[in-house]
């Protein structure tokens, strides 16, 4: 079966982002960019499915600026077969991304799309569920285990209280949680090989998708800052302070 893996270009998880002085957003100029960590997990899962002989072809897709090619290359170096860049400068909300992905799914006909559960920039946790809705497919979100089970997919999900297992009819959508796998590092030979793998570039308009945002950002502010407090010298002093000063116990 063919597997699609959407990968988002985001500010690297190690960067401490700064709010722009004019309150229009966060500073992204000259900041390290990477593949969204949950998407690395998604690519890894697809590659493992291919290694097991379950997946036949893996297509990595990124919607964003032309520089998002870098994240597609990373996916190709990890083992994806080809890439599609949906080039667009400016905001893409999950609904717009889901519509873009639906248009690509309609063309490519995959049996499975594996997305990250959440992009660590917008923290929306929405695109996979939205794509499942638009396609009328079943969804296995926050997956910590994925197994092919005949014509179905068995997905173990991280839920409040523990784990739950569902069976999805294929084609289906999966979104990855942190415990699904540990993504591999691409080896140098694979990075070299990835340079030769094809990346097709399209525009949202070519796919017939209107990506006009539905949300207007009125302002972006820094959250209330916490002050570092004091060090206490002993457990006795800590308990004393919690009882008489903070009065929380």
């Amino acid at each position: 079966m063919k597997v699609l893996v959407p990968v988002k270009r985001v500010v690297d998880y190690n960067v401490k982002v700064r709010v722009k002085a004019d309150g229009t957003g966060v500073e992204t100029a000259n900041v390290k960019m990477s593949m969204n960590p949950f998407d690395e997990i998604a690519v890894e899962e697809a590659v493992r499915l291919k290694e097991k002989g379950v997946a036949t072809e893996i297509v990595a897709i990124s919607a964003g600026p032309s520089a998002a090619q870098e994240q597609i290359r990373t996916a190709l170096a990890m083992g994806a077969d080809r890439g599609i860049l949906v080039e667009h400068d400016g905001t893409l909300e999950p609904l717009a991304v889901a519509k873009i992905l639906k248009a690509i799914v309609d063309k490519e006909g995959p049996a499975l799309v594996i997305l990250g559960k959440q992009a660590i920039d917008d923290d929306m946790n929405a695109t996979g569920q939205m794509l499942a809705a638009l396609l009328g497919w079943g969804q296995g979100t926050f997956a910590s285990k994925v197994e092919k089970d005949g014509d179905n997919l068995k997905v173990t999900r991280e839920v409040d209280g523990g784990l739950e297992t569902v069976s999805l009819k294929l084609p289906a959508i999966v979104t990855t949680d942190l415990r699904l796998n540990e993504p591999r590092y691409a080896s140098l030979p694979n990075i070299m090989k990835a340079r030769k793998k094809p990346i097709e570039t399209v525009k949202p308009g070519d796919l017939g998708v209107d990506v006009t945002p539905r949300l207007t950002v009125l302002k972006v502010e820094e959250p209330a800052k916490r002050q570092a407090g004091k060090k206490v010298g002993s457990v006795q002093e800590l308990v004393e302070k919690l009882r008489t000063e903070a009065k929380v116990i």
Binding site: K16, Q129, G136, S167, A172, R214, A228, G229, K231
Partner: protein
Amino acid sequence: MAVLVLADHKDGAVTQPTRSTVAAASKLGEVHVLVAGPGAAAGAAAAAKLPGVTKVLTGGDGPVLAEPLAALLVALAPGYSHLLAPASAAGKNVMPRVAALLDVQILSDIAGVVDADTFVRPIYAGNAMATVKSSDAKKVITVRAASFDPVPAEGGSATVEAAPAAADPGLSSFLGAEIVKSERPELTAARIVISGGRAMANSENFKILEAVADKLGAAVGASRAAVDAGYAPNDMQVGQTGKIVAPELYIAVGISGAIQHLAGMKDSKVIVAINKDEEAPIFQVADYGLVADLFKAVPELEAELSK
């Protein structure tokens, strides 16, 4: 137009995050609540007592699956201006699906209501707060419970009726669940939380945190590193991509204080950090910091609390 809240419920009670969601919803209009899944009737009876709720609808009491639940919410949507759910695993699973079916951009994890169209939500692990205005006719929202004081559990008397049945699209089926049983309070509802990190070194050692938790009536949490290593169940992860908590007291034990962890606990009223590295970033947000070996300090803490 009224607003609809999808409730999380358990053992005949609605969860505290659901009561926080009702508080957020009350700022937007008259509140109706939908209760579905195992134990729906008892959950509905509890929801009917929430102040501000005027009507409770019961869905089926079979296992909750995203696809039929979304279909039900979409069927109910014409009667409501806003559809809300707590930003719990259940809410985050179903609400974006509902939003897409309604051709609406979801407002995830809101931390503030400015007006009927305008909301505040954290981005970049809570390192920035965005105020966004939605141009969609209907709003689909998940609510960050820690940002809204919950309504009391009692005081209202809503009517309860069955929701009209919606067709199950039959896309998935429920195979089973492994739910961790605990006598301790829920992480997202506890007044006190004590969390352990990678330094706990194994799951057995979490017992010393549990002993303190039992003295304080606290919930036990964990960092991602502790969960990944298998020292604690996934359900206990606090952080950007785990649970968001804001208790009166948060005690971080052997946790370095990565941005992703801070994202889940930095709105706590009082933060205590116990770490043997005095340079650990967690101390920058802690009201009280104790530089110590946890294996010495935590048992001492338990003993001191017994006094």
